[in-house]
Amino acid sequence: MTTHSIKTAGSAARSAAQTAVAAFAAILLGSFLLYGVGFAQPQQIHDAAHDARHSFAFPCH
């Protein structure tokens, strides 16, 4: 268990920057997609995502 913890800590430190960059990229793209599908108000986007928005309980109209 101790060796496991040490190994985990070691390689976590090694990839801390990579982890931050990957997580940031995922949050950025995820938020962008979520805004488009759930919140953006242009009529065509609203109409296309209409049934999905209601089903997922996003405020729609």
Partner: protein, 256 residues
């Protein structure tokens, strides 16, 4: 770069699988209710709105969005029906990928080992954050239901979801009690302030339809999140908690 590629691949697969499952469930549960509700949808703005905001530029509490005609959007031909279902499936897949990216980022930042089972717990957390917590104040609504101003409701929805998400993450991972207390307060705040509701709750949709829709929406979302979380956890199992410690991680499920 490899980490990003694997994270995005996991999110893509999890999002597509959960979005596909949601699409099937929706066509059997929520979508028929939406189509039924659209028959009752408001044709013209309520008289009070028409009188107080003739130009349409002034947003008030009774705004119902664009004026729709009876049955607008309800598919009348096969082509329209196919197109509408196709667009809904596409929107579901995008929703799945978007949520999977956010959940994957949270799993990665938490840095704890995951597998399909722990992923299921993560998924249930996602369900509570973006489905259950916002629905506590703003029930999933059908077309034609009375609602307060859209921007207010969107803002409240985001506050409730973000607050609940951060609160649960703090409960699970924060060591500092002050941090936990502050985030729990932030999670409670939208509910203490109260969700924006219209002055008179008199929508055109029969309450029986609305009640069935709320249950169907939440149930479908729970299934969606269960699949999304499990698949995310499964595909990210070698990604978090360091690849070198893989053998040790493999032992754990057997131990339990």
């Amino acid at each position: 770069m490899d980490l990003i590629r694997r994270l995005f691949t996991a999110a893509l697969v999890a999002g597509v699988l959960s979005g596909t499952a949601a699409s099937v469930v929706q066509q059997a549960t929520t979508v028929p209710l939406i189509l039924e509700a659209e028959k009752y949808e408001v044709v013209t703005p309520p008289p009070s709105t028409a009188a107080s905001a003739p130009a349409g530029g002034h947003a008030d509490g009774h705004q119902h969005g664009p004026v729709r005609e009876i049955g607008e959007g309800v598919p009348t031909t096969l082509d329209e029906a196919v197109q509408r279902i196709g667009l809904t499936i596409a929107a579901n897949l995008i929703t799945g990928v978007a949520y999977a990216l956010l959940l994957g980022a949270a799993i990665l930042l938490a840095g704890r080992p995951v597998d399909a089972r722990r992923g299921l717990v993560w998924g249930m957390g996602g369900f509570v954050a973006v489905s259950l917590a916002p629905s506590f104040g703003l029930a999933p609504e059908l077309p034609g239901m009375a609602g307060a101003e859209l921007e207010l409701r969107q803002l409240w929805w985001l506050s409730a979801a973000a607050g609940a998400g951060v609160g649960m993450l703090a409960l699970a991972f924060a060591r500092n009690r002050l941090v936990i207390a502050v985030t729990l307060l932030a999670a409670a705040l939208p509910h203490l302030i109260g969700a924006p509701h219209p002055e008179s709750a008199e929508g055109a949709v029969p309450p029986e339809l609305a009640a069935r829709f709320v249950a169907a929406s939440l149930g479908g979302a729970a299934l969606f999140w269960a699949i999304l979380g499990s698949v995310c956890g499964w595909l990210m199992s070698g990604l978090v908690g360091a690849s070198e410690s893989r053998p040790a991680l493999r032992v754990q499920p057997g131990v339990r």
